[in-house]
Symmetry: C2
Subunit: 603 residues, 2 copies
Amino acid sequence: MSPKEVIAQLRQMMQAKGFDAIVISGTDPHSSEYLPQRWQARRFVSGFTGSYGTVVITASHAGLWTDTRYFIQAVEQLRETGIELHKLRVIDAVDYPEWLADTLGEGAKVCVDGLCMPVSTVRHMQELFVPKQQVVVNVPDFIDAFWPQRPTLPDAPVFELGVEYTGRSRADKLTWLRGVVAEKGCGSILLSSLDEIAWLLNIRSCDVAHTPVVIAYLWVSAQRAVLYTTVAKFDDELSATLLADGVELMPYDVVVEEVEKWPCSTPIFIDGNILNYALYEEVIRHFGPAVIDEVSPVKLEKSIKNEVEIAGFRRAYVKDGVAQTRFFYWLEKAMERGERITEIDASDKLISFRKEMDGYLDESFSPISAYGKNAALPHYSATAAQCSVLEPRGLYLLDSGAHYLDGSTDITRTIPLGPLTDDEAADYTCVLQGMIALSLASFPLGTCGSNLDVLARMPLWKYCRNYGHGTGHGVGHVLCVHEGPQDLRQNLYNQPLLPGMITSCEPGMYCEGHYGIRHENMLLCYSDEVNEYGDWLAFMTLTCTYIDTTPLLEEMLTDEEKVFIDCYNTGVYETLLPYLSDDEATWLKTKTIDCLYEPEEEL
Amino acid sequence: MSPKEVIAQLRQMMQAKGFDAIVISGTDPHSSEYLPQRWQARRFVSGFTGSYGTVVITASHAGLWTDTRYFIQAVEQLRETGIELHKLRVIDAVDYPEWLADTLGEGAKVCVDGLCMPVSTVRHMQELFVPKQQVVVNVPDFIDAFWPQRPTLPDAPVFELGVEYTGRSRADKLTWLRGVVAEKGCGSILLSSLDEIAWLLNIRSCDVAHTPVVIAYLWVSAQRAVLYTTVAKFDDELSATLLADGVELMPYDVVVEEVEKWPCSTPIFIDGNILNYALYEEVIRHFGPAVIDEVSPVKLEKSIKNEVEIAGFRRAYVKDGVAQTRFFYWLEKAMERGERITEIDASDKLISFRKEMDGYLDESFSPISAYGKNAALPHYSATAAQCSVLEPRGLYLLDSGAHYLDGSTDITRTIPLGPLTDDEAADYTCVLQGMIALSLASFPLGTCGSNLDVLARMPLWKYCRNYGHGTGHGVGHVLCVHEGPQDLRQNLYNQPLLPGMITSCEPGMYCEGHYGIRHENMLLCYSDEVNEYGDWLAFMTLTCTYIDTTPLLEEMLTDEEKVFIDCYNTGVYETLLPYLSDDEATWLKTKTIDCLYEPEEEL
């Protein structure tokens, strides 16, 4: 069915039920960013494939709300659908709840799928709806009736990620969680975020593309821990291991009926930013006011990587560096031979090199392999149908990553395939200067990402240029490639960066219709020094893939920046050398030997 | 009376009335930062002279809560008082409301002077007090009974600051305000912030030391505007002028009884962050729920300077530059002659040069004239009793400013009086690098001060050094030297910088027991360019006083920084030249001719 047809059917339903609008939230019952296919309703309704957005349909209007990352892509994908783009993260942006409150009349009814919308979003709408007595009507999973051949839930097996990788046992994590919950005066906690559950129980699967989580809810009290999930995905051994740690398995769907069996003499801890509204209604019905709604304690705890996880990340980045070196070597030679290589050929080749690495599980997201003007879409996705051939000129951008048993990677390199324009070279240099400035930052404990973000932007801001996405995000350990609570962006968000947090640093520059550039390294925050002026933190770079220096305009670089690049590339060469063939090593040396910094001779 | 004696008497009262604690808020009925002497109760009770702090007394404890700026000073001034310092703006700081809630038992009674505490503070305490059923008891002006020879209200005349200086008539401002109030659905507004009232009515006096405001409340409805103030301070001509614009004068104290005469069929607009709790209780009694409590619209409007005000600021900084040049010239020569000069002699001399300038009104704050280790106290205040003599070595810091009819200034220069240590020179250089980095920033509309603050800190952070105060504050136009809503600091506060805002840029470095350094320029935010990437803003420096280049470690400076300093100093010389004597001009040339940037010769 085309988006137009689906929307027509939804409008019929709206008319029949007396709804003035329906909202398709674009998430799943677990507030996931990347979704199991079964819950990709936004994509089904609109054809838009971005990872963020909401569709709203009224009798006379259909709109998609999404952010700066996806403006160009959305315009293309919404053509012929009758759906209009509403821009978020721009000055004077109006998000859909405000738009609905404004646009709809007194007493209007807005239908939402409460299963796929967190409590906080519903509450926010309800508050905005008060003045005009508009109401939110929860119709769980209403999309089901309109979706022929809707995908089912995945059935791949669940496996245990051992303490040799996680550094902390399930029992230890459960003990910690029970302590925190008790300290809050609660008797139990309901977790619904898939990565939080996987982290806590040291389990992984592949229920979401490129995200090794298990679809489940987890309820933990002082006595019990019950995992509501597809039980058949657990083999006998794993079930027994879990049970030995006091974790019972129950079917996924029964959670709704189970709520009323949970002891309600003490409050329950929930995270209203994650928990879906449909399940929340059951919780409220049973617990009444005895609900503590705060950010899940697992979120912060999970973001602070332990020594074993950090060592794993390091190994993962070395593996990734080897695979990328092989890939860029192959690419250069293949281009020299005049081979026809498409964007998809290229990313497939990289994946093939990654698959040769020990402990490889999956890509951590669908690679962004983008040549020339395609790279101006920060989240471009090449398809077999629409895919450019690499030419010996301009820039090629490759943003990709993998999950290994050791850890997860996310890296972007932009390389020249031949001659560049002056603008390409200048922007390439500025973007790299931004990455370097942030990588070299030293900062006192208490500093937030929004305090530091400007460092990555200023080299571009100087020339009144900018990129429309955040500078960095946390990365999960064999979990989601985007993980909170910390981030690096302009929006003021009060989460200090802490030792053990791993955050990407990925400034970019996008020139619509021409080219796109992004350089991305992964930074580990560590404790550097304590003195009378504060507890000082700094970043260590985990990524281990050379930076191409040929496009750099040296006259723009300071000595400090030159030294950074020289040291970084030398370090990459020395670290990867033991894993490379002679040919690969010789080639990588040519890429890393260039010495930018030449100290002035002493007189 | 000594602090100990006052505290003993207050404790007797507490016991008699059954209070478990009393709070001395340290502000006045108008939430002023700098206060008329009559309301300097915190200083009277504790002896602490800083501009920020709260005293709390319980049966067993007396504490002063203040921030990083005043730690060293507070320790000194609280000696012998029995009052303990509680540090704010440090990690894990506990402010006094939380401390009271924690420390006091169930049902405790906390006495506050509701006249000298804004609504928001009382509300915050009340919220924290809920769990233990503690209560806030408002006893307006309780300090009066314990304060012999308490100063009376000032009686200096009020004068009009004409449109030739303010750029906007009183009538126009009132029309604007009435429009905003009506748009909010309100029938009237109650203003109590002294600088907002002075700005709106284009009136000035000197009711607060160094702050040319008039003590008053202002109530404005669609039909009326009533100024509650000391009527005798207005001469017949000004009273008539005000009346011609529809502004009536009434005695200051009657405002309390007047509230019930204000029409209450439509809501009243108040700013609960400013309005005192005692008057608020009257408002609530009369208006019931028909109160809109939001940030006063005058605050933002006032911060965006118009063309006439900006031109005035420019003239003020030229005048200040002339006075400072004469002062530094005099200082250098006097030191060479071996004269004995104390910190107070020096700042008095500067003031004498300023007084020679056209339109001089007053200093904009009490100068911080600090030699050597005294400068390590960012808000040091020399007194006749305790005051150092300048020696021909080390650094001398002078932070001062003036009100002229044209505008207000605030400037800090740190200069070498002789040989410096390596640390002094390195820190002098780093602090200046911070000021330059921020001055050169280009940024898109929407950027907040907390996004940019790091630019001024990073040169120090690199060496794990820092300063414990904000980087910059807004400055009023012939009003308060500290003015919101914008600022430049680490704390996340969502107020974008806007064209027309004037903000100081004053990084520093303080080495306790040794030296202090601060460089402060005033920056005007202006609209630079609009392109596809945003509306670009930048800063223009208003301050026009040379920067001493002799302490700079040139090897630490980039070419860009060298060019900035060269251009700045050359500009200062050229701008001031017409106003200087031949001797002064010759001397200033020696201070500004040094060329740091020497381009490499072309081969």
